[in-house]
Structure formats: C-alpha cells, structure tokens
C-alpha cells in the first residue's frame, strides 16, 4: 500500500528579506509613484493650479492695496486652501481610480511591503503641497509685495507640507469608499464647502455666528491658525490645533485602512 506523507514545502530557504532590501522596496515604490505623476502633469498640475489661480484672483488682484495684515492673512488662508487640494485629490482620486482598474488588487497580491503604496502617494502629495506653497510665495512676494521674512516663508512651506497629511487621510477615506469616476465629485463636495465654512475665503469673524461655532468641526479650520502663525499672525495657542489635525488624520486613516483591508 502506498502511504502518502504530506509535508509542507521546505522552509530551509530563508525568505526573510534583509532590511536593506525592504527599505529599497519602499524607496522604489515612492520613486515610481513620483515619477509616474511627474511624467503625467495632466493629473497633478490642475490639482496644484486650481487653488493658485484662486489666490491670484482673490488674494492679489482683488485686494491689491489692502492695508495692514490683510495680505499676509490672505496668503496664509489661501495656502491652507492650496495644500488641501493635493491631499484630497492627489490621494483620493488616484486611490479611487486604482481600486477600480485593478492596480491596487495586484499590489495587494504582490509582496509589496505594507504601506509602501500609501507612503508613496503621501510623499507625492507632500511634494505637490510644497509646490503649491512655493507658487503662492512667489506670487505673494513678486506680485503682491506681501511683507514676508525668509523664515516666515520657510515656516509656511513646512506647515503646508506637513499640513497636507490629514487631508491625504481624508482623501484616502473617500477613495476607499467611492470607486473610480465618482471620487472627484464627492471630493469637491467636501473641498469647497469646507474651505468656505472654515473661513478660508471670508474670515470667520464675518460669517454668521452659527457657522463660527461650527467651524472647529472642519480640519481646515485647525490648519489655518498654524499657517497664520507661520506668517507672524495670530496669538492662539497652537498645540490644540496640532492635536486636532493629528487626531483627524489618525481617525480618517484608520477608517480608510480598515475599509481597504476588508474590501480592497
């Protein structure tokens, strides 16, 4: 009689990856993600230029000889409006598209190190956010003659590049629920009302009292004080806002990650 001895495939070969190779995979993923968008400016350029145009029209042309702190206030507000865009759209729209076209499924099946895909997108969004802030700074100093020190400019750039992260998480959450073509519409429904309601276009103090009381709900209302402080305005304590942004980012990220793990 034949007996069949069933054994697992030998594990003698070590399939652990040396950490250098794992790190290399993260770098390769991030590099590919940036490269593919740099070569397809049709996607990222509108995402970056849309808020920039807004600043040019409403921040500079319409308020050319505004008195006192107004120019710096506008710069900070539009910088917040500007960095939300690559976070929400850069992350959300591409995730929604890649969930639909099968790329995410393939990446999940491949032994890509965990999170490399999301880290790559995050890095891309941070670079795009940095690009938006630099564009705004160039317009503010070149066209708007906004009084600004180099240190303030650097701090605004840093605030923008880190401040994009909670919006990446929000974009990821939308991208995790809405597939493909539906995502840009949903994101606009969040992006534009949220910008208005958190006082990025019209200062909060000029909005109805109810809306003022509601403002702390919106993540963007917490990034604005940080941007204002970066350009030397506002005397609020900053840490509650930093905590609020970190909290929002974490909650959005956890919800999105849970959804992606379950549904893909």
């Amino acid at each position: 009689m034949n007996t069949l001895h069933v054994a697992d495939a030998p594990r003698s070969i070590d399939h652990a990856m040396p950490w250098q190779r794992v790190l290399g995979a993260y770098v390769a993923e991030a590099r590919s993600e940036c490269l593919r968008y740099l070569r397809a400016p049709g996607f990222m350029l509108p995402v970056m230029l849309f808020p920039t145009m807004f600043y040019l029209l409403f921040g500079i042309v319409m308020n050319h000889n505004a008195p006192g702190d107004v120019p710096r206030y506008l710069l900070a507000s539009y910088a917040v409006f500007g960095v939300m865009s690559p976070g929400l759209f850069g992350f959300g729209v591409s995730l929604a598209a890649e969930r639909e076209n099968g790329l995410l499924t393939l990446k999940r099946a491949l032994p890509m190190p965990p999170g490399a895909y999301l880290l790559g997108k995050m890095l891309m969004a941070m670079l795009a956010a940095g690009g938006v802030v630099l564009l705004l700074l160039a317009m503010a100093t070149g066209l708007g003659h906004v009084p600004l020190s180099a240190g303030q400019g650097m701090r605004l750039l840093l605030t923008g590049m880190l401040g994009v992260l909670p919006f990446c998480a929000l974009g990821m959450l939308v991208g995790a629920y809405v597939k493909g073509q539906g995502a840009p519409g949903v994101l606009n429904l969040i992006y534009l009302p949220m910008s208005f309601l958190s006082g990025l276009w019209i200062p909060l103090a000029m909005l109805p009292a109810t809306l003022q009381r509601l403002a702390p709900i919106w993540p963007s209302a917490h990034l604005q004080p940080l941007a204002l402080s970066a350009v030397g305005l506002g005397k609020d304590a900053l840490w509650p806002h930093v905590l609020a942004l970190a909290g929002y980012g974490l909650v959005f990220f956890m919800l999105a990650a849970r959804r992606l793990r379950r549904v893909g």
């Binding site: 054994a7 399939h15 990856m17 190779r21 390769a28 076209n101 999940r108 890509m112």
Partner: protein, 304 residues
C-alpha cells in the same frame, strides 16, 4: 512505499459567501511543487474567488487556506509567489524597465534582469512606456513581472488573452521551462487548448465546488464521445436517427457525426455510402469534455 510531496498551496473546506451568494462552497484543493494545474469552469463557478483566497485578497468565511504552510496574507508567503492578474492597469507613464525594477524590489532574491527579459521575450520593449505597448505586449510585460521575483508558485489568470498565436506559443514554452525548473503554476484560462497544451492536472469548478480533478486524459475519458467527419451524400437527419449516434450535422461539404460507438457507426456508414471519402475520426477534445461535463451539471441542477 512512501512518497513525500511538498504542498505549496492548499484550500481545505474553504467557504466564501458574498451577500448570501456562495462563491466558494467547501472547496478542497492541494497543489504540489512543480505541478501545473489548470483551473477551469464556467463564469461564476468560483475561479476568481479561489484565486483571491489563495492570494490573500479575500478572507474565507470558513475552512483553511494556506500558501507555503502560512496564511496567504503573510508577506513571507507572498514573497514566494508571482502574480499575473486578468485585469490590472499598470502605471501608464512608467517604462517597462522601471516597472520591472519596482516589482523586483519586492522580492528577496529576484532573477537578474537579463534572465527575466529573456524568459518573457520582452527585450525590445524595455525602454518603452507601458501605455505605448499593444494589448498582447502588455500581457507579456505582466508575465515578466510575475516571474521576475523567482517565484516558486506562479498564478496566471487568463495569461494569453489578446496575444497572437506566435506570442501565445512562446509564452507556453516559457511556462513549460518554469515548470521544468520546479515552479508550480495555477492557470485559469478560457482557451481549453491552452489547458490541454500545458496542464498536467485539470480541475473543473462549478458552483464553488470541485466537480472534476485529474489529468487531461482523465477528464476527456469522462465523455466517451468520438467525432466522425466525412464527405458523403447521406442525409444528416437520417444519420442522426441511427442507433448510438448522438448527433449529426452538415458542416460545409462534409458531415459531422458524434457517437459513443465509433466502430459500430463507421461500419454502417461505409456500407451505406461506398463513395464516402475524406474520413476523419477524432476523440473528443477537452472542449467537448468540458461542455459535456458542465451541461451534465446544469441538467442535474434543473432536475434537483
């Protein structure tokens, strides 16, 4: 005698439901090292879900699914597999060489670039952007991405869709080479001649269960049909009414007869028409066997 088999992937009593619909219904399947298994079945039979379970893309509601003795979602298990999915839009603006470099970076000991390029026959595309390639060329690049990590188990989901005959033959040759090196392959395909050309083992799924598991010959022998083809003046309807004849149709100038008793029918056929010419007798192919098997199942289901 004791035979040691190395199991690379297994499903044991796996069940997966989607909104009340049972896609995989207590599936048992074991894949061994160096084995090429073709997974066949009509649409909705559970092929995609089975592959999804083995790749860790979906979780089984019940039962056990293992890849190299581990959970398929364990990255250490997935570092030993290569994947070619049916539909995956790879980043359009990246060059083929960049896509390869990225995928190779996921694996502990990938093949060299030269080896991968040679195996998949994609040397002329390396510097081209992915979007600039034709559908068949893109499939070959996806095949290269599947094998570049030196996997011990390769999942090929409809690998030759969109390929011309030449490219398909070349891909088959590469797959045979990989199997000869000890690589296991799970292949799903709609082209039965592909399964016939490659597979040592054919598993037919229907309604989320294994309904047939064996060699190509074993599956073929499940249907004892033979096809007789000849040029004759005999009336197709009259021949169809003969005993032991399952069916007879005119196809162009010739008559095609299906029977389970070829010798018997042939004798009568030659008697009936001494002028008969162009005689051809073939055993049922995998396609006929597969059709017969799935029809049988459909009838059983209707009867039940």
């Amino acid at each position: 005698m004791t035979a040691t088999v190395a199991v690379v992937a297994s499903l044991a009593g796996a069940i997966k439901r989607y909104d009340g619909l049972t896609a995989v219904d207590g599936l048992n399947l074991m894949l061994q090292r160096g084995e090429l298994l073709a997974l066949l079945g009509p649409n909705g039979a559970g092929k995609s879900t089975t592959i999804g379970l083995l790749l860790g893309l979906v979780r089984a509601d019940a039962g056990r699914v293992e890849l190299f003795g581990r959970d398929p979602q364990d990255i250490a298990a997935r570092r030993r597999i290569g994947v070619m999915l049916q539909q995956a839009a790879l980043p359009a603006t990246l060059r083929v060489s960049e896509l390869l470099a990225l995928t190779m970076s996921y694996y502990p000991a990938p093949r060299t670039l030269e080896e991968t390029v040679e195996l998949a026959g994609i040397a002329q595309y390396l510097d081209r952007r992915y979007a600039k390639l034709s559908g068949g060329e893109q499939r070959r690049v996806q095949f290269a991405l599947a094998l570049c990590g030196r996997p011990e188990l390769l999942f090929l989901d409809e690998p030759t869709v969109g390929m011309d005959i030449d490219a398909r033959q070349r891909l088959w040759t590469s797959i045979r080479r990989l199997v000869a090196e000890g690589c296991s392959v799970v292949l799903t395909t709609h082209y039965l001649e592909e399964a016939e050309a490659l597979a040592q083992r054919v598993v037919v799924l229907a309604n989320g269960r294994v309904v047939s598991d064996g060699s190509v010959d074993e599956l073929r022998s499940r249907v004892s049909l033979t096809r007789i083809r000849c040029v004759t003046d005999l009336d197709a309807e009259a021949v169809a009414a003969w005993p032991r004849v399952t069916g007879a149709e005119r196809e162009g100038g010739s008559l095609s007869i299906r029977t389970d008793a070829a010798e018997h029918v042939l004798r009568r056929l030659l008697d009936a028409d001494p002028q008969l010419s162009g005689l051809e007798v073939t055993r049922a192919g995998l396609a006929e066997a597969f059709t017969a098997l799935t029809n049988e199942l459909a009838q059983e289901r209707e009867a039940a």
